[in-house]
Symmetry: C2
Subunit: 116 residues, 2 copies
């Protein structure tokens, strides 16, 4: 397995950073932590996301193997999104970053104000 040269433009870490760096992926992943959810459930829980963007996010995550999309042939239609093992394994690393954020965000904001 490659060790990943972070200074290589083809760096593997880029793939992950692009994913967690976007506005909604992390929230989707955290939302799905406790089990499958339907489209509208996600949409309402994650306030402010439009259907288009939510769809884009879900498709990208599905494509990366982070979650699965299961369509039930019913009326009305039902679609469930579930984290894969890969998706669940990302939850830990993300939590570490999230905890750092929560611990230090006030300090960062203080720095920003002082800076002006």
């Amino acid at each position: 397995m490659d060790t990943g040269d972070v200074f290589d433009p083809q760096c593997p870490t880029r793939v992950v950073l692009d994913r967690i760096g976007d506005k909604w992926s992390m929230l989707v992943l955290l939302s799905l932590r406790d089990g499958p959810m339907r489209f509208t459930q996600l949409r309402t829980r994650i306030g402010g996301v439009t259907p288009k963007v939510l769809t884009q996010t879900l498709r990208a995550m599905e494509q990366d193997g982070l979650l699965t999309r299961k369509v039930f042939a019913e009326v009305p239609p039902r679609v469930e999104y579930t984290l894969t093992d890969l998706g669940r394994s990302l939850h830990g690393p993300l939590s570490v970053v999230a905890e750092w954020a929560e611990r230090h965000v006030s300090e960062i904001l203080r720095c920003r104000e002082k800076f002006s």
Copy 2:
């Protein structure tokens, strides 16, 4: 200390994600891990970054208190960038994500190809 509601648009984690999510901040932080560096050192080590963007990145990180910018009144000019304690404390969490990326990137890429 706040626990941070990740579903709040004002969520503190956003601040951090915006920072580590951008294209160069993480590389700068990793570069500076082993000590201060000068502008051109960073520029050459991080291949592909233009001076404008590198400046933007460094200014933003300085503003957030992740690094300090020290100008030496010399000819030719010398400017050194050094991580603050806050910046160094971010290195751990970032490493966790980076390690995850390195371990799983091949799996992600495989998923992407299968998806097409």
